[in-house]
Amino acid sequence: MKKFLKNIAIFFAIVAVVDFSIGKLFHYLQANMAGGRTGAEYYICERATEDVIIMGSSRASHHYIPERISEDLGISCFNGGQDGNGIILQYGRWKMMSKRYTPKLVIYDVTPDFDLFENDNERYIDRLKPYCYNPEVRDYVCSLYPEEKLKLFSKLYRNNYKFLETLSDILHNGKTTGYIPLYGKIRDEVVNAPENSERHYESPDREKCIYLKSLAEEIKEKGCELVFVVSPYWKSLDYDYSAIESIAKELNVPLLNYSKCPLSYNREYFEDSVHLNDKGANVFMGMLLNDLRQLFAFCG
């Protein structure tokens, strides 16, 4: 038994050394990456100083064009939308960002599946794990999932699954503004589906609502402006927005709901039922900028 335990101890000691070294290497790569997804993520977490920050899911990253906002409003902007993610990730990012600086305006694009409805929240903390060297993020992640306290000791675990992305992003050198344009067109089957044929009325997720509220409160406390936006959906999709409406009302945050706007009925503007293509994003930007000018004096 003694020899057995001694060998196990040696094995884990070697693993710990490898784990530490590879972890350091990944951290170096992330911190020195100019472009790609890794670069954009590190930028929003550790470097961004733009006046306007956009948060949300893939809908945010495909719908908001920072160049248009900068040109029209004369203020800098960065799009921090992240596909397959919502408030659980974005609140962690806000924790990092707010420690460094306070933007003038945060535009939060609400996607009910990722920001309001109940589903497995554990997957949303994945992209925060590499940043758990930051005590605020680490505390936040561990408050959500206490067992992470132990798991996060491993730096390999922190980079689980993301390491290939990090390595491939070495090839992407160009700095990005976070906007990812789409150039496809919506399929015929989706176009032919009747209006509101896909109804999603699910119970709100308590945890997501808590963090949406906390985000709104903390942004306001910092003297920054916040606006919740629901960008356009294709006409067949219908969601329940009562949870975000009550949060916006309670905290006196403006809510711009474009889920069913004239764009929703024009197939030229959609890549699929949830994402606008580049053409649609440009039209949507025009509508949003008009409304932002009316809402905030500094946008005038």
């Binding site: 038994m1 057995f4 060998n7 094995f11 070697i14 693993v15 590879i22 554990e122 689980n160 699954y161």
Partner: protein, 477 residues
């Protein structure tokens, strides 16, 4: 609590240390109990606690099956020959009742209802909205196997209830097998156990490789498969074919991974369980496949279904019928759905054809062997489509769609795809070496190279594994 859950790996070291710190036996106070076995008691306690961790109420089923088969076997042994048949039938039926209710009630109810509806008659019974007790098929078959062994006089009825209870509930195998035979496990439960270094190291190696198969190969491939299967009509034919191949590898990684972990954990506790897999995708026929895939179930079906029906010591036609029924039972055992039944029928019919053509025991070499491996893999993969799809209609549509269109399959995610390729390459290399060149690449046996392999595999699990405790496919059977 499954082997891939983080909680298990927090709990298991405690179980391991307490288990080995406890004395193997203490002299009893009374004459009747010569000694008590603290380790066995502790294993029973741990097994029940781990099982109860999922749904405490379902431990009652486990207890009921243990009591029923324990007393059933003892009762059968005392009876004269001509009365035994009726008694074994009664006890076997009673043992199967929980399995039949939990697993097949809804299926039978729905099937009868749709049959009656098609005749214009409607009589609907309410379905059961209960979760199936985890591992029920495995421990029911293990207990039933013991009962049959006593009936066929292969084993004597176990006198010690504690030993028998541990035989049924032993935690490494209760969730998804392997299905042990009383003759293998009970003597190990009875004998004095001392920690053996080689056995412990072997256990850790099995655990590590099992983890890799499950977390890196199966769970990652599962992401691709789930995406394609959920919306197969939207993907090209070659993508559907690739997804079917990936599912074959996924289910292998999932089940073989689990079995290796079960064998590994058992070895760490001083037990040797049957290894359930022997490189099944290098089989040259479906008959050969079933000698290498889920070996413990194949053996169970052979001993308690195929042979009692007459096996191969009968006419050709009767033999074909026996094969067909055995694989029909195998299909039904896997689940209450027509898809599993068709899956079983495909395997049964393929074996009958092989037997009729004399291919079942024919050995092949060189290119002919390679061709046979590819053909067998293709048949197995086709059958897995029926196993995977929710309904027969979907399965047939999926197969039809797979043959539409040409071109390269879609990658879906470059990062994930790179992981699939790496994981498949590692598994293929390891298994090819063991199957075809066991004496080559000897440098891999070097002490330092082996340690490097272990560290690399462990780091790959941390870097590429799906570490969110996804469930095991066979956990639901």
């Amino acid at each position: 609590m499954t082997f891939n859950s983080f909680t298990f790996w927090l709990v298991f070291p405690c179980i391991f240390f307490i288990y080995w710190l406890l004395p193997d036996r203490i002299l009893g106070k009374s004459q009747r109990t010569h000694y008590v076995r603290p380790r066995n008691w502790f294993l029973i306690l741990s097994s029940y606690l781990l099982y109860a961790n999922w749904k405490p109420a379902y431990t009652l089923i486990l207890i009921a099956i243990t009591l029923l088969t324990y007393f059933g076997a003892r009762y059968i042994e005392t009876k004269v020959e001509h009365r035994k048949k009726g008694i074994i039938f009664s006890f076997a039926t009673l043992t199967l009742v929980p399995l039949l209710i939990f697993k097949y009630y809804n299926f039978v109810n729905e099937s009868v209802w749709s049959l009656l509806s098609s005749c214009g008659l409607r009589y609907e019974l309410h379905g059961l909205n209960w979760a199936i007790p985890v591992g029920i098929s495995f421990y029911t078959f293990q207990a039933l196997g013991y009962l049959f062994d006593v009936y066929y006089k292969k084993e004597k009825a176990e006198k010690s209830f504690v030993d028998y209870a541990l035989f049924v509930c032993f935690f490494p195998q209760i969730f998804s097998g392997p299905i042990s035979k009383a003759g293998e496990l009970l003597p190990q439960i009875k004998e004095k156990r001392v920690f053996k270094y080689e056995q412990g190291v072997q256990g850790l190696k099995f655990l590590l490789w099992g983890m890799f198969l499950k977390l890196v190969l199966a769970d990652r491939l599962g992401l691709y498969v789930d995406k394609v299967v959920a919306d197969y009509a939207m993907y090209s034919g070659p993508t559907c074919v690739l997804s079917a191949i990936f599912y074959s590898l996924q289910i292998y990684g999932d089940f073989a991974g689990y079995s290796l972990m079960a064998v590994g954990v058992a070895k760490l506790m001083g037990f040797d369980l049957i290894n359930n897999f022997k490189r099944p995708y290098f089989s040259v026929s479906i008959t050969d496949f079933w000698r290498r895939w889920h070996i413990s179930l194949s053996r169970w079906l052979k001993d308690y279904v195929y042979i009692p029906m007459g096996g191969s010591r009968c006419s050709k036609l009767r033999n074909y019928w026996n094969i067909f029924v055995t694989f029909l039972v195998s299909g039904i055992w896997h689940g209450a759905n027509w898809t599993y039944i068709v899956w079983g029928i495909i395997h049964g019919v393929a074996q009958i054809i092989e037997k009729a053509l004399g291919l079942n025991n024919k050995e092949s070499k060189g290119i002919w062997r390679f061709v046979r491996i590819v053909v067998t893999f293709a048949i197995v993969t086709l059958a897995w489509v029926f196993f995977r799809m929710p309904t027969l209609v979907d399965a047939v549509a999926y197969v039809g769609h797979s043959f539409s269109g040409f071109g390269m399959p879609e990658v879906l995610s470059v990062t994930n795809f790179a992981i699939y390729v790496m994981a498949i390459a590692i598994v293929l290399f390891k298994e090819s070496r063991e199957e075809f060149f066991p004496m080559k690449f000897r440098f891999l046996n070097n002490h330092y190279v082996r340690w490097t392999e272990y560290v690399v595999i462990f780091c790959l699990i941390l870097l590429c594994g799906a570490l969110d405790s996804g469930s095991f496919i066979y956990g639901s059977f």
